[in-house]
Amino acid sequence: MSRQTPLFQAHKASGGRIVEFAGWQLPIQYVSLIEEHHAVRKAAGMFDVSHMTVVDLDGPDCVAALSRLLANNVAKLTESGRALYSTMLNEQGGIIDDLICYRMPNDGYRLVVNAATRQKDLAWIQQQVGGMDLSINEREDLAMIALQGPEAAAILTAISGLEAFESLRPFRFMMHGDWFIARTGYTGEDGCEIILPNDQAVALWQQLIDQGATPCGLGARDSLRLEAGLNLYGQDMTTETSPLESNLAWTVAFDPQARDFIGRAALEQQRAEGLQMKLVGLVLEAGGIARSGARVLTPHGDGHVTSGAFSPTLERPIAMARIPFKADGDVQVELRGKTRPARVVQLPFVRNGSMRDGLLDG
């Protein structure tokens, strides 16, 4: 039986079309995916992301455990209130999950990991560092709301007591009583992710609607993150791909050399031998959408689309694809038995609400 978030009734009441996602019943859209998408790019939209898994780590061995578990270096969190994006790898350098790690005020650490990988992640963490001196607590008592868009900060700071968010920098968070408010997101826009007790989620959701935030579903969440060039676990990266092949080399901290994180040896070997594949963006002419799995033909061999969608901002199909490392420029995508031209581009597709400058140049 799939689970419902504390906001389930609110979604139904707002006309949300409910679908099953990673074991949860969540709205894929309310009225129009495209309108929800534009609301986030031009004003403010919000998402129920309570299905995400929150795990709190406490105890003297937290840093040692995270240094081992994460490909990025937890030591970069030099003080509480800071956040770090990282992958968690297996010994082969394959990605078990991507996550955000926060250093909490009590010197514990909070991980927010994907819902679809919850069991696998918890089992892995337990297996790898369960014997160390730390506690691992999944926080099923917490809900999570993402408020995103150029007007998100104005909407949030209109709530009494949250004025301090105005000066909060990206990838930092603040506490407000029981609420945890991070300046992070999955849309490429400014905004926040608020983690709060389950029984307070409905009231905040309603308050944000009253302030002008548009409720958005999973559909807009996917098209927004794709435009922003943000990977989706299970599609753009899996245990079969390393961060180096997933456009995430910037999240791997090879320095200091002495830090022996899981997967390090495999990544060093991959780096020494040279990469075979890379994850890139594709822009297609108006027409059919290149969906996940579509074949990409290049002079250096075949690749495949990992995520594809219609981009409401560019008004044409876009995709992420894993293609041979040497391939660049013009390629072909196979759609329903026909090939169609596509252009390889650097990610992201969209920045600050519109097409990234120079996206289609050279």
Partner: protein
């Protein structure tokens, strides 16, 4: 609640067929179908002059979520296309039974229309 005009006939795969006065049959997708698909962003129509068979996938309507085949509710030769959809696929969302029609055919056998559901039967079909 979906809108279901009584003067049209419906296939169980959610296409509609409308017999026009000139003897041709116009084809589109139902309000229920467009609602399920969500925002349409691309429509691939058959070629003009193509011969389509009843039940054959001859067009594709693509929404932000997925691409879906359109199965011709009637056999015949495609005699006209709604070219306006190329630039405005959302017309199918906004007016599925009017300006959002897809193509029309000169039917081989107009009696094929009688094999399709009437509005009442279609309403029951989508209620299931």
């Amino acid at each position: 609640m979906s809108d279901i005009p009584t003067e049209f006939r419906y296939a169980d795969s959610h296409e509609w067929a409308e017999a026009l006065e000139d003897g041709t049959v116009r084809v589109g997708i139902s309000d229920h179908a467009q609602e399920q698909l969500g925002d349409l962003v691309f429509i691939e129509l058959p070629e003009e002059g193509a011969v389509v068979a009843k039940g054959e996938a001859c067009s594709v309507v693509e929404s932000v979520k997925a691409a879906s085949d359109v199965y011709s509710p009637i056999s015949g030769e495609v005699v006209s296309l709604n070219d306006a959809l190329e630039d405005a696929p959302e017309t199918v969302n906004n007016d599925p039974y009017g300006d959002g029609w897809l193509y029309s055919v000169k039917p081989n056998d107009p009696a094929e229309l009688d094999e399709l559901m009437d509005a009442e039967a279609y309403a029951e079909h989508i209620d299931d």
